[in-house]
């Protein structure tokens, strides 16, 4: 299925290649580099390209292109999903998925890739299984390894692959047994000029960090599972239990994982936590414009809004901005023409305001469109949909684990049209 994989840096440098079948010359990447040139923005490179003899399927993650080469029919999503899984694994192993980190850990990367695919077909993609075979590098271990010549490759054989819970490694032991669940919700919204909601929805995920000894069997139930309209699960979740009882019953993988993601039923109206009063105008004559933005709390359920940021991609003809913020700081990136206003915590008594003038290249016409405003925010201890975990039970093990649930609401793709 997947013949070869090339890792290509943002600038077009091919810094790693791996082949699972016959070697394919790296010159095949030229087709891709050409398309990349043409597209300008890396996000605009078509994920699937056709060349005379090969098909190139690529993803863009962490300023890197993961380019896979295949010669025959294969479901494109299969490859794309796999490549993302590879990137996730790197992230998981090295804490980051960037060119520098991958270059530093070439050998580990290579070993991982070797295990993940066999003859181009995914073999072991579960992080728990991989970690049994190849230990993730830690500072201590790498120091020890250089001194003693020890290795990162696990001495034991990966029994996880053989078990019927391939996502969990065997023989896990902890002194402190803990299970934490983060319910993270994101509000995706488009507001129009007048502040009316054009489109809004809530998407959420339940991220878990489970460090429990042995083979615990967990059951997580919600106060109001009816809210959940559409769900997708980690393979460990027993789907039938969910279907019949609306509880999540699972044997967790060890460590961090995403238990489920969900979409809140569209019948419930979405609370929009902040409102934005904005006025961005460009003068017909002369080369300047004005900007005035105020943000205030709307439906915050009594919680405070934190980490508030405002991003405004300005038209390309904008030369500079001269603004004053009553709270927080703003920056203007001259190359990307993006105004980034980092507000911080929203104070309902004294609403943050950003105003000032925008200067435009002389001679260039008045921009056609006002830029849209992207909002970022975070509300701690609140799931905006009202979803609540009611209880977590553990079976199969004797000890008493420490349990915790945290709720966070964030702005997802939250956009105000102007």
């Amino acid at each position: 299925m997947i013949n070869s994989l090339f890792l290509i840096s943002h600038s077009g440098d091919i810094f790693l290649e791996k082949h699972w079948k016959s070697v394919i010359s790296r010159s095949v990447c030229d087709y891709f580099l050409e398309a990349k040139e043409k597209a300008g923005d890396p996000e605009n490179v078509a994920p699937v390209l056709q060349t005379p003899h090969h098909y190139l399927i690529s993803i863009y993650r962490g300023k890197l292109f993961f380019l896979s080469v295949t010669q025959t029919e294969v479901p494109p999503l299969f490859v794309i999903e796999f490549l993302h899984r590879v990137a996730d694994t790197f992230q998981d192993y090295f804490g980051d998925c960037s060119e520098v980190v991958i270059k530093e850990n070439t050998v580990t990367v290579y070993e991982l890739l070797e295990e993940m695919l066999d003859n181009g077909f995914p073999l072991a993609t579960e992080s728990n299984v991989l970690k049994e075979m190849i230990r993730p590098p830690t500072i201590l271990r790498s120091v020890v390894n250089t001194l003693t010549g020890g290795s990162n490759v696990g001495g034991t054989l990966p029994t996880g692959q053989l078990s019927n819970v391939p996502w969990r490694r065997a023989g896990v032991k902890y002194t402190n047994n803990e299970a934490y669940f983060d319910v993270i919700e994101e509000i995706d919204a488009i507001l129009d000029k007048s502040g009316t909601t054009v489109f809004a929805e809530i998407q959420g995920v339940v991220e878990a960090c489970v460090k429990l000894t042995g083979m615990p069997d967990l059951t997580l139930s919600f106060m109001n599972p009816r809210l959940l309209d559409d769900v997708s699960f980690h393979p460990c979740v027993r789907f039938k239990r969910w279907e019949s009882e609306r509880v999540l019953s699972f044997i967790p993988p060890d460590g961090n994982f995403r238990l489920m993601s969900y979409h809140v039923s569209s019948q419930n109206l979405v609370a929009i936590p902040v409102y934005v009063k904005q006025n961005i105008s460009f003068l017909e004559t002369g080369s300047c414009g004005r900007l005035d933005i105020t943000i205030g709390p709307k439906q915050t359920m009594g919680k405070s809004v934190e980490n508030l940021t405002v991003t405004i991609p300005m038209p390309k003809s904008v030369l500079s901005v001269n603004l004053t913020a009553t709270q927080g700081t703003y920056t203007f990136d001259l190359t990307t023409k993006v105004v980034l206003w980092d507000v911080g915590k929203l104070n309902p008594q004294k609403l943050p305001n950003l105003r000032g003038s925008i200067s435009i290249q002389t001679g260039s016409p008045k921009p056609e469109e006002n830029p849209s405003i992207n909002i970022g925010l975070q509300i701690q201890q609140l799931a905006i949909s009202g979803l609540k975990v009611s209880r977590l039970d553990m079976y199969g093990e004797k000890y008493k684990p420490f349990k915790g649930v945290k709720y966070v609401t964030k702005a997802g793709k939250f956009q105000v049209r102007t």
Binding site: S22, V48, S151, S244, M301, K413
Partner: protein
């Protein structure tokens, strides 16, 4: 290029005794390989270490070996013996690893060794080794295709494997080696379907894709009757149509009259195996893996009956939240789907709205989807969106938007003028690209009705002075030439200007100048004769031969000479022929002949190795090929078998012993199973599952036997399940208990259903179940004593089935009756009982994706002479007028002839009420269903809106009366806001009632669900779990409606309603009271 010294250095390290040095050397070598540098000259030094004790060194050596073995074949042979030894290792993981590396070494000489190793591994004890063997098959095949026949034997053997570990890999091998040998799948089909959910995700994708193809060759088209109708123009359509959801009672009544017609057309019967596939893949829509979701979606798109395809929409929309690459692929597929099945995605219209931060390629795909989704009802919303898009900074996207507007305008007649006006305004846009694109689109639109728009043509003529984009200039010239009679004054002047600039124009513009000249010459030769001559002369010496050719051709044709041929007489006809307006089509049209989700579909070109999706067969091949003979191993007792299976995969099958008791103690389930049947009936849900995995064989066995007896292949799957489940229970189980258990089973089913469907249907299904039971008892009494006690249950079950089958009348509908689709089962059973139309006919999922909308009858089929109309309150904002309540009507023409021009007339309303009529339905072919939306402003009263529903032949008086709950729309309030508002609506405005909750409605869930079903309100978050709060506003006056349900002990509760409008309040109290107590 590399200093040999450095390599010597590495060689030295590899030769040393220290593992740490070896490891260091290997790491450096692997890093070289990773960077694409040549390290092949180290081969001898490296290969020596293949037997190294250090496991990491060993692994790295393998990496090296696999990479360079093809180049250094002779030396690679040195390592083979190590792997051969490994193949015999007692540790399964070492055996597997040895086979993996051995098969990856691409050296032709070792083909026989590989073949031998694969054959041996295929019958290894360990499933992991067998899996590795399956992986090795395509490797060997690509190395030496000659081995195909032998490899197919191995594949056949591995396909019969019963473990999930092997299934995915062997199907992969099958797809690469012998995808055409579909016959190998027959015997394994049911097993694959049943194992599917437990196979690892990558294997699932491959299996689902293969099964899609398989199903296309083995089963009949579930939509066959519909497609026949399309072809036959509905002429031979019988009264009932083919829809599976058609009322059965009717068929019963008029069966005899229909007998003749029935004989003519073959009734469609879904093969139970076909149903099995659909049912077992459906849960995978919930997978986290986008590829799996897509695979299931394409399976449903290609294989499911029309009414069931809708389920995939939600899952696909979910994928749009994923990475942009995933979005890209999903949107491509959605675009194709929307052309065929528009209704499916209509409820998700807003999910395709475009953000300015989306990458351009995503924007354009979303635009494509939005355009495909546009219809009369939503076009205004879509056009409003498009207006925002036109102002975007992304010019490619703006151009695409203009194209999209053009397509909407051609497809939807009503908005054509609006669109045209909008586009004309764009002509004064500052951006030339925008103007140019608009010109091109306007040209296409004008062609549809040029006579009305000569002023636009004039306006465009003026643009030639400014617009430089060749395509736009060419379009304008073509327009002027084509409609020169509408602009007789301007046309010659344009030609004059063009003649002046002819030499500087682009080729396409030049061709159009020639065209214009010719047309003008023919219509207005007096003014343009000289100009035409001049232009033709210029063209004669043009550099481009196309232009020279064209000039020569035109001259011969239009300028009369003595030699001019017979054609010149017809010159006018040739040039000024009436040209049909262009059809603006989606580029995704007809792409669905490629299997969706495939690379070929994405590229719209056949990729290497693509397996065509075959057309449905005319008649179904023999279904018995999928029956499995009873192999040796199934002869062991069923209990033993069960144990063995459980060890293998206890996790999905929720093994009873382990989690059963806790489950029932814990769950708040209201089903009877929890309390009644303790552990043996534990989790009725788990049983159905188990029958999937564990008792496959039994199922098959029995089926086979049954089949020999009768031809009743259309058994409900649900029944099959309980059947197998029961036969695996011991035979001394009492009859009564069985009943109970079955009941609990069915109840849990209806529980599930309740989640997606309305209350009424639940109670209905309960009734029907008990009805069925009564009948079953009767039948059971009749049934003759079975020969073997073990078979006893089965026979009884069978009798019941035969009752449901209806096969003495017509066997068609029974396969539809599955737990997946309880909707049908209800109607079927009620129909059996001779009931008339059920009250709560559920709308197709496409219209109401998540909510259960109650629909009401507007016109009965009998009174309507075959036309039946139902309406429901869709609870969506009615976009043309916010003060109106949207009423969605569904027209079904069950008569034998087409109904034309459905519209409404003579609206009689109370003062103040207003109605926005639905657009006229021009044609409703026999047997088809259409939906339309109308808006009614009820002025916050429950007065009925009376009007006449007219067809081309008849008029019917009908009226729509809203339940009070539909006169409001939900608003979002916080707890504090709610309390504040409530404080202001005390006294006269507050109504309080005490009530006792219905036994089934004592949890929060049920209350919320019942209240929101009764009234269109939204939930208000609330700190205490003893209270449920809801809020809404009336549609017309916007008065607040606040509802509080406070629960006490033992089902006592208090309902409080605060509303300015007392009348509404009192009526609402009644309705909600009714909903909560029944």
């Amino acid at each position: 290029m590399f200093s040999p010294f450095r390599h010597d250095d590495l060689k030295e390290m590899l030769d040393s005794n220290k593992d740490s040095l070896k490891l260091e050397a290997m790491k450096r070598i692997v890093a070289m390989i990773a960077r694409g540098k040549n390290a092949s000259d180290l081969f001898p030094a490296v290969v020596k270490n293949v037997a190294c004790k250090n496991i990491e060194v060993k692994k790295l050596v393998y990496v090296y070996l696999v990479r360079y073995a093809e180049e250094q074949q002779d030396l690679a042979l040195l390592s083979i013996s190590t792997f051969q030894r490994g193949l015999k290792d007692p540790n399964q993981l070492i055996r597997a690893s040895a086979l993996r590396v051995l098969s990856s070494i691409r050296v032709t000489i070792i083909v026989p060794i590989m073949m031998l190793a694969i054959k041996e591994a295929a019958s290894d004890m360990s499933p992991y080794v067998r899996k590795t063997a399956a992986h090795a098959i395509p490797k060997l095949y690509s190395l030496d295709p000659e081995q195909k026949d032998q490899l197919i034997e191995v594949i056949e053997k591995l396909l019969a494997d019963k473990t999930t570990l092997v299934a995915g890999s062997v199907v992969m091998a099958f797809e690469e080696v012998c995808p055409e040998r579909i016959d190998l799948i027959h015997k394994n089909y049911r097993k694959l379907c049943n194992l599917l959910i437990d196979v690892e995700e990558w294997g699932q994708v491959v299996i689902i894709n293969m099964l899609t193809r398989y199903a296309r060759t083995q089963f009949l088209n579930p939509n066959i009757n519909e497609s026949l109708l399309e072809e036959g123009g509905g002429a031979d359509k019988t009264f009932y149509g083919s829809d599976e959801d058609e009322d059965e009672d009717e068929e019963e009544k008029e069966k005899k009259a229909e007998a003749a017609a029935m004989a003519k057309r073959k009734p469609y019967v879904m093969d139970p195996d076909h149903r099995l596939l659909l049912r077992n893949t459906k849960p995978l829509l919930q997978s986290r893996n986008a590829a799996v979701v897509m695979a299931v979606a394409q399976l449903y798109f290609h294989l499911a009956p029309k009414a069931e395809v809708g389920v995939i929409a939600k899952a696909l929309v979910r994928l749009l939240r994923s990475h942009s690459e995933v979005q890209y692929v999903v949107l491509q597929n959605v675009a194709t789907m929307t052309i065929k099945r528009r209704g499916m995605f209509e409820p998700y219209l807003k999910s395709f709205y475009i953000r300015s931060t989306d990458p351009t390629q995503i924007k354009i795909l979303k635009l494509e989807v939005l355009t495909n989704l546009a219809n009369e009802t939503n076009i205004s919303t879509i056009l409003r969106e498009f207006q925002t898009y036109i102002k975007s900074m992304d010019k490619d996207f703006v151009a695409a938007t203009i194209q999209a507007i053009g397509r909407c305008a051609t497809n939807i007649g009503e908005v054509r003028d609006t669109c045209l006006n909008g586009l004309v305004q764009l002509l004064s846009n500052r951006d030339e690209l925008v103007v140019a694109e608009s010109v091109v689109v306007i040209k296409k639109l004008l062609q549809m009705q040029p006579e009305k728009h000569s002023d636009i043509i004039k306006h465009m003529a003026k643009l030639t002075d400014n617009i430089q984009v060749p395509m736009a200039r060419a379009s304008i010239l073509w327009l002027i030439g084509e409609y020169c009679e509408h602009v007789p004054k301007i046309a010659p002047d344009v030609l004059r200007k063009m003649a002046k600039s002819f030499t500087n124009e682009e080729d396409i513009v030049k061709l159009q100048i020639l065209n214009l000249a010719a047309k003008l010459y023919l219509t207005n030769s007096k003014q343009t004769k000289l100009l035409t001559q001049y232009v033709l002369n210029l063209a004669k010496y043009d550099q481009n031969y196309d232009i020279r050719d064209r000039a020569r051709f035109i001259r011969q044709l239009i300028v009369p000479t003595e030699k001019s041929g017979a054609l010149s007489k017809y010159a006018k006809k040739l040039f000024l022929a009436l040209k049909p307006a262009p059809v603006l089509e989606s580029p995704f049209k007809d792409r669905d002949h490629f299997q969706l989700g495939s690379l070929s579909h994405l590229l719209n070109a056949k990729a290497g190795g693509y397996q065509e999706l075959p057309d449905w067969p005319e008649s179904a091949p023999d279904p018995s090929v999928r029956n499995v003979e009873v192999p040796e191993w199934t002869k062991c007792s069923s209990r033993e078998k069960r144990k063995e299976k459980k060890v293998e995969k206890p996790f999905y099958s929720d093994s009873e012993g382990e989690s059963g008791p806790t489950e029932s103690a814990d769950s708040e389930s209201d089903s009877a199973s929890g309390s009644e049947s303790g552990s043996e009936g534990s989790g009725s849900a788990s049983e159905s599952e188990e029958s999937g995995g564990v008792s496959v064989s039994e199922e098959e066995e029995e089926e086979e036997e049954e089949e020999k007896k009768t031809k009743k292949r259309e058994l409900k799957k649900a029944v099959q399940e309980s059947e197998s489940e029961q036969s695996s229970e011991e035979e001394d189980r009492k009859h009564e208990r069985k009943m109970k258990q079955q009941k609990s089973d069915s109840e849990s089913e209806s529980d599930e259903e309740e989640e997606s469907e309305s209350e009424s249907s639940q109670s209905e299904s309960d009734d029907s179940e008990s009805e069925a039971e009564v009948r079953k008892k009767k039948k059971a009494a009749e049934s003759k004593p079975p020969s073997k006690p073990a078979k006893k249950e089965t026979t009884k079950e069978k009798k019941e089935m035969s009752l449901l089958d209806l096969d003495d009348f017509e066997p068609a509908p029974s396969p539809q009756v599955t737990p997946v689709n309880n909707l049908f089962s209800n109607s079927l059973v009620t129909d059996l009982e001779g009931l008339s139309l059920s009250e709560a006919v559920l709308l197709p999922a496409t219209i109401a994706p998540s909510s259960a909308l109650k629909s009401y009858e507007l016109l009965h089929r009998i009174t309507g002479e075959g036309l039946s109309v139902e309406y429901c309150f869709s609870r969506q904002p009615f976009s043309p007028d916010a003060n109106m309540v949207a009423v969605q009507m569904q027209f079904t023409n069950s008569s034998a002839s087409d109904t034309k021009s459905l519209h409404m007339e003579d609206v009689k309303l109370q003062s103040g009420m207003r109605v926005k009529e639905f657009p006229e339905i021009e044609l409703l072919p026999a047997g088809e269903t259409a939906t339309a939306v109308m808006g009614i402003d009820f002025c916050d009263s429950t007065q009925a809106a009376n009007f006449q529903l007219c067809t081309h032949t008849r008029k019917f008086f009908v009226s729509i009366q809203p339940p009070v709950g539909e006169l409001m729309r939900p608003v979002f309030l916080t707890e504090n806001e709610f309390k504040k508002e409530q404080g202001q609506l005390m006294g006269m405005n507050e109504i309080t009632e005490k009530l006792t909750l219905d036994a089934k409605c004592r949890n929060e869930h049920a209350i919320v669900q019942r209240v929101t079903t009764a009234a269109n309100l939204s939930r208000v978050p609330c700190g205490s779990d003893k209270e449920c709060r809801f809020a809404g506003r009336t549609v017309t006056s916007g008065s607040l409606v606040l509802v509080t349900v406070a629960t006490r002990e033992e089902g006592a509760a208090q309902l409080t309603i605060n509303c300015e409008k007392m009348v509404i309040g009192t009526m609402l109290v009644k309705d909600i009271l009714l909903a909560l107590t029944q």
